[in-house]
Subunit: 349 residues, 4 copies
């Protein structure tokens, strides 16, 4: 009953097998090999256009490089209050941009509020040398709290980005989970809605380590390559990421894994919703479930082998949490089984 995080899982057997299969032979390094070329073609196919793909070793690197590549002196990038770039990356986005600032924008259920976004941008008039100036917008899809923007919502933010001349970045650490819950195409959820750069995550969804920055404007690739190399993210044996992505994207493995993880989350949410000892904090859309329970119950459940974390209450979550209550996060993945959920349900009874 490991619901701590989707990065507590290992690798999907198909990923592991593909990697082993790729172990032999020689191939050219630094992203220029045959595996890399096949993977690039696959990305083009998936996104229904020519894209540029740069592997990174972490989602933090993908996010930080994406933003750094569009930052400028005095620049401010806008992200949600609970965004990973703001909460969990130890200042990496600012470090990679040598000081680029991040600005928090509120919004319910992990999604940036359109009106608040425009208000936040308006605080930085372009001529305002002293305040700084807007440089980028970043959204997370699926969000950090297990919800997802609809394609229309992304499009609305894309319009704000375009209207203000700002590039739009999407942190897709759980891209596939959002994709399958919305049942839309990768193109619909990204560039067709105004997204310019995507952190495409595979690690949380069954890869060992497969992350990439996807640029929808290929003319930016030549310059990005220097950002990427200078940030120590140009992997030598790039085929080991390529092989993972190849298996990940083949035969809908990525979509099926995400569907499974989401289904497990739904199942777990049902268990939690039915219990009279806990209450669901909000309705999950992807593979993260949040629930409120007495602190004592959390200790009891942890003690019985159910692993999950207490979570900081999001600023945008208005519902009161009692003094002895804690908000808890449960994450499912390709590796979560129905048996795990059932066992947990048993503990809750």
């Amino acid at each position: 009953m490991i619901f701590s995080s989707d990065n507590w899982a290992g690798a999907h057997p198909k990923i592991a097998d593909a990697l082993s299969a790729a172990a032999g032979g020689f191939d050219s390094a630094y992203g220029s090999g045959e595996w890399d070329q096949r993977v690039r073609a696959k990305f083009n196919e998936i996104f229904e256009r020519e894209v540029s793909v740069f592997y990174t070793s972490t989602g933090t690197a993908a996010n930080s490089l994406s933003l750094a590549s569009v930052q400028k002196p005095g620049g401010v990038a806008f992200g949600h209050d609970e965004a990973h770039i703001l909460e969990d990356e130890c200042g990496a986005p600012e470090f990679f941009a040598s000081g680029g600032r991040l600005c928090r924008v509120a919004g319910e259920f992990g999604r940036i509020d359109k009106a608040m976004l425009q208000t936040a941008i308006d605080l930085f008039p372009e001529a305002g040398l002293h305040h700084g100036r807007p440089a980028a917008i970043s959204i997370t899809q699926a969000t950090e709290i297990g919800t997802a923007y609809s394609v229309e919502e992304i499009g609305a933010i894309g319009d704000i980005a375009k209207g203000n001349g700002l590039p739009l970045h999407m942190d897709g650490a759980r891209f596939a989970n959002a994709l399958v819950t919305l049942d839309v195409t990768p193109a619909d959820m990204t560039w067709k809605a105004g997204v310019d750069m995507l952190s495409f995550g595979g690690t949380k969804n069954g890869c060992w380590m497969a992350e990439a920055v996807v640029l929808f404007d290929k003319t930016r690739a030549a310059e990005f390559a220097f950002h990427h190399k200078r940030a120590a993210q140009l992997l030598s044996k790039s085929r080991f990421v390529a092989a993972q992505f190849e298996a990940y994207l083949a035969d809908d493995l990525w979509l099926n894994s995400a569907r499974h993880a989401n289904a497990m989350a739904t199942s777990l949410a049902n268990v939690l919703a039915k219990s009279n000892r806990v209450r669901l904090a909000w309705q999950p859309q992807c593979n993260e479930v949040f629930a409120i329970m007495p602190g004592g119950l959390k200790t009891e459940l942890n003690g019985k082998g159910a692993r999950f974390y207490e979570w900081r209450k999001p600023a945008s979550f208005a519902e009161p949490i009692g003094g002895d209550e804690v908000l808890c996060r449960f994450v499912t993945s390709f590796a979560t089984t129905q048996a795990d959920v059932d066992k947990f349900a048993g503990l809750l009874r």
Copy 2:
């Protein structure tokens, strides 16, 4: 006949198998899992003392983080003219240090010359606010041109480091290759000789992606962790590096792989030395061989399937190279076979 680079090889079967074996089950992330702990214990054993180990995704990251962690305003780190940090990392060491400068020191056969090092350091008197000040020394073992410092030579540089109050970093991208050619212990070749920080490379020697910074002073670990995370190098599913290192360090796989690579280099050097169409540039000690040949011959050999690169002539290599001649680099690895070398010998005849 792939002699382009040791990073053109894939993974040693034992590494690939270990990784597959680690694919199942759950483990805690970010370096805190069971695999990580076993690997840490193994590093302690190998180095005969408690050390701190931080995985990185590239050697460039390991080098840059090591140096950045000891840099300071106006600081200058000293490295050999041909050092990877100076020649092949696109300014990453300076970027990670937000401007820390690198200073070139000459020396024959890829090794920093002791006297020249002290002379270079003396150009930056500690009180010299305008010139800048010394911050670190970095050596590469094995060197970028296939040679190795003896333990005594490292010790002499360690003495200079200590005498000048400077931390000593070792870029060990090909650490194992140097170790087996010198036939000494890891402790002898590092901290006992004055090395403070080591970039410990496994990727070029049969891993997929297994690099680490090893700090010999554990009290530095708490601060280093923030450098590491902020640079986007804290890998979530850390077990996939740990599993590689576990297999790599077990049963002397790392040493045997390095011995094999070095032996192949020696074999190749013999082939080259015996040929009357090329000449060996200098005697290899590890797994890189450099030879001088007519440009036409290189083209011919490449055309027949022998892959290797033309190389820039090192500043310290005094021997003249004819106008129609080129210096070429051949790299062997765990994956190089005697058959490859023999086939290449056939081409040369």
Copy 3:
């Protein structure tokens, strides 16, 4: 009737005269001359202890260098919502720290709220590699909105700083204005209350360009000197700042100039408070006055030669401002005359 800003004034005649008197002869450069030494002694006297003084060319440089000198990877410095470092320095504090983050803390009337400060710090547990970690606290005295912390309030924040192991920085762009309104000693208002670093501003109070970082712990000076030089802030003809400071600190010129500016602000506030066409936003304590008036009145007054700016409503100012009303800022200085205030009063009638 120039109430735009205290930096619209020129130099006090005594400052200008002292500078002219210093124009002749030779003196050693870069802070090592006779003028510099006399000024240093004067700073020691004023602060009743040995301090280190580094001139800077702007208050932004003083603030940014102070914070950069104590920043660390993943570090977060806490400042008030309306702090100059957060609102008006174009990201310089983050740039000088190569990415160090700033975190906003609320508080009424421009002063950091103690409880909110501790709450904000608590969001960054020291072991929290992902969130980042606390690095410094910065307060502005006088505040950006014309109020001042009492010595007790500074002491309370000093206690929080000490309790959390954080250095406390004071942005003293209008240091003298706060000092005379509180009628305390420089020592009381700084190090005795827990302040570790001070941006000591003279420019807004009658100097041409005289700003300095004052370190109360002299052992930090040797390292700070490299931060200072690397940031291009080591002025060659340092005597031209020293001569200004010498005149500024002699015969209580700085205190008298501040008293005059504050008195003019009080006089102006009375004028505004008595008018039935505007209302005072809050009670000024130093040399900035804020008032609310119809937008049309502002236009009218500006048109008649009264210069002052519309100002962004502070987050902590709860009182509603009507749709056709604007918040306006008036700043007085050594150069403001009672005649100016009277003339403005005439316009308001």
Copy 4:
């Protein structure tokens, strides 16, 4: 007999007077006032075209900002072995560019050698992700060792810059001294010869603190303004620099001061050349004179009140210096008198 440096002098009386005259009244801040506008017009006139002017507080700031504004990831700026940016700025150029690298180019008598420059650039092929890429060229006029590039020599370097697509920066800390020795126009010596950015120095030639970045392409100004502000170089009471520049550029004060300084250097060089106790190291063209003398003589002269510094032997200066000899630098300025030179001549006899 102060020959230590031209920054040991104070301010020219006309500069000091102009500053005093500007002390009264109000003017808008941050470069937008009346003085600033007059000075901008004067710069346009002097350079015979529209230029953009940004004041800085130090030459280091002007140089570092110029280069930072054109740096890019992996970028390398080329400067002479003895360039101030490389030797005396404590890593500021790299810091302002968050890691941009500087590369040394040799050349006789303080001037970059054209052929060596092209060779150095060629080491960084544009596609060379690993080595880094060329980003800028910087020359110093007058050079750090008292020589000057001819207009033709600047043009030749300008051609190399253009041919390689690189911006050309000129460090003009002693711009006027070079101008009068060459007897050419500011336009000839800069943009007509291919210079894109100029650090225009007034401080060493009789101002208190008057430095500026001059951009010959005005379209770059909007972006540069953010670099400038973020680096804490936007001075509030900008009129105090403007007033200096106004006096400096009026009635040829800048040119006459430089002529005087150069004449004093020539006179001093004659004294040194005629002495049998010292020898001139090379022929001065501007206001710096270098001579070789026994260490004992230097001590003796210093003891008798002649102030000058021992200097590090330039790499490009081939002539041997005896074991007991030292190279010494003498700098003259607007404030140097013939009486000083004569007195020194007396000491030498």
